[in-house]
Symmetry: C2
Subunit: 354 residues, 2 copies
């Protein structure tokens, strides 16, 4: 028995780190075929094809430099070859490319009917002002079930085998067990829950709260205030999840994909740093300029998510129930002074309770 | 109608800050008598009685220097005089003095039967290896209902009117409304829930998690790891609350007394700083020495709570269900190397799930 064949769709920073984790596990279980394929969108790195560089040096010098990759990890530039025979697909590409990639995979006609998928993509998509789960897009385009993995997972730290945790939200219990075996390592502990929608909404929208938290830093506010803003953010994330995916439960909060990911994202990370700069300059530096200086021109996920979340809530006439998301949008996009973030929360009104 | 008379039992850092908040509110509602009394355990400050100093300068130079207190806040050194006529008692003294103070208050024979109390005391007590809520001690000794208030509340920040939140857990809905009116300010927003036990357990045991988080800092571990430790800590706090107070619900997590207080406590604060030093020195500096250097010899709450929690769990044969609390105890008290904190979590075992 050859065991299930695994393909990682994506070769970026997180994709390569995840592929390393998986490649350490596949040889340990008869359940899996030891070879793990990683689909590489070919590009030249120092004059050499990236896939060749990975396969000869066992390092992804472009996206995960300095980390030795297992020999049983094989970079494959041809998407069709990746699709053929694969039983387990792991998606880890930017969310804007998920649909087009899935369409190509389906159209090559080589997909196994009994394959299953897992999304490591952080983000939900907004289609016609409705939030859509990345896992649902994959399910729909490929016609196979798709689970999700999310957590407080800085890719470089996992690549260096620093202790981390992640949450798998599974479509069926059996798939949960499968993904847990594929990913669980002593330094990367996997816990499984059922809430496929919840962990994806948290994974996407935490970046909006990171902007709010970054504004607090930029305004020089103390720890009481920042903790209050993070708490309100947590409540609004959860309310958003319940509003659009009513099966979301409280379970997700206690998981790595819940409170832990929110904490790391709001304490460090690019969204917080850029938002702090934005607030410190009283909104007078553009996001473009800040992205240029801090991220070499890469785009900040929190900024686009903030805009999308605002549009969704506005269309559904729900802005009043999300005061933090609303004021964060106004600060980020409508020249509202950053100090308004706190002023808008400092009401005379008593909070109602049951 | 004179309105309900309020007495703050305690005049420390948090007590004085709370008394300031209250004294700003009482004149606004006919419901309350404008004068707020603050019981002061008399001592000499620069040769002057503390109560006189507060009443003449309207500042508590000893415990909250630099903050102007409202004129309607009256320091009263005589406990009996405080008890007489008081309708609303707010307890904010170190938890080891709660019982003896309550006994004195009862024995003076001046207590109003229809009085009610609120505990701002952080901490639960351990009596015969059973955790007992501070609010229950007050209820039992005084024979009146006792609610609780807790949150991400650094006293000096609230005194400076930096935006903060707190949670009131009420015995009855009407009392919840009363305490909310007494405390809610635009810079100090009060949310009310029913879970009197939950918020007190969280308020006490978060300090144990702060030690664990501090050990991570001292070991130089990254943000994935610290977030994982804080998450496991949250789960163990909640499990502890459910174990000894089965009516605890998930509500508390979303409140200031839940996730927000845990975050501030684990990010900054004395427990984290001292624990970081302890781990950085590989446990070779004693807690005494560290407390001497960092806290002028004051005792670290996390250290005693860690010991108490361990004893409770050991007596109930529940240590195996609390791996983080257990290893934190071993590092803090049994010369276990701090790196064991993470090693003990890095298991080969797969986490079970439903």
């Amino acid at each position: 028995m050859a065991g299930k064949k695994v393909t990682v769709v994506g070769c970026g920073n997180w994709g390569t780190a995840a592929a390393k984790v998986i490649s350490e596990n596949t040889p340990k279980f008869n359940l899996f075929n030891p070879t793990v394929r990683m689909w590489v969108l070919e590009e030249l790195v120092e004059g050499v094809k990236l896939s060749e560089l990975i396969n000869t040096t066992h390092e992804n010098k472009k996206y995960l430099p300095g980390i030795k990759l297992p020999n049983n990890l094989l970079a494959v530039p041809d998407l069709n070859e990746c699709v053929k025979d694969t039983d387990l697909f792991i998606f880890v590409i930017p969310h804007q490319f998920v649909k087009s990639t899935a369409v190509k995979m389906r159209e090559c006609g080589l997909m196994k009917k009994e394959a299953v998928a897992l999304s490591l993509v952080k983000g939900i998509m907004i289609l016609d002002n409705e939030p859509v789960l990345v896992s649902d897009v994959i399910e729909r385009e490929l016609g196979i079930p798709c689970s999700a993995l999310s957590g407080a997972n800085v890719a470089n730290c996992i690549a260096r085998e620093e202790f981390s945790e992640a949450t798998v939200a599974y479509t069926t219990r059996d798939e949960g067990r499968l993904w847990q075996r594929l990913f669980d390592r002593p330094y990367f502990k996997i816990r499984c829950i059922k809430d496929v929608a919840g962990i994806q909404v948290y994974g996407a929208i935490k970046n909006v709260v990171a902007l709010s938290a970054g504004f607090c830093d930029g305004l020089g506010l103390g720890s009481n205030t920042k903790a209050a803003v993070m708490r309100i953010g947590l409540v609004e994330i959860h309310k958003f999840a319940k509003l659009f995916f009513p099966n979301t439960t409280e379970d997700v909060v206690f998981e790595s994909a819940g409170v832990a990911d929110l904490i790391t994202t709001c304490i460090g990370g690019r969204n917080v740093r850029c938002a702090a700069e934005f607030a410190a300059k009283e909104g007078k530096r553009s996001w473009n300029e800040i992205e240029q200086e801090f991220l070499n021109g890469q785009k900040l996920q929190g900024v686009s998510t903030c805009h999308e979340v605002y549009e969704v809530l506005r269309t559904h006439d729900k802005l009043a129930e999300f005061p933090l998301f609303h004021v964060t949008y106004k600060v980020a996009f409508e020249s509202t002074h950053p100090s308004e973030l706190i002023k808008s929360l400092s009401t005379e009104e008593l909070e109602r309770f049951e």
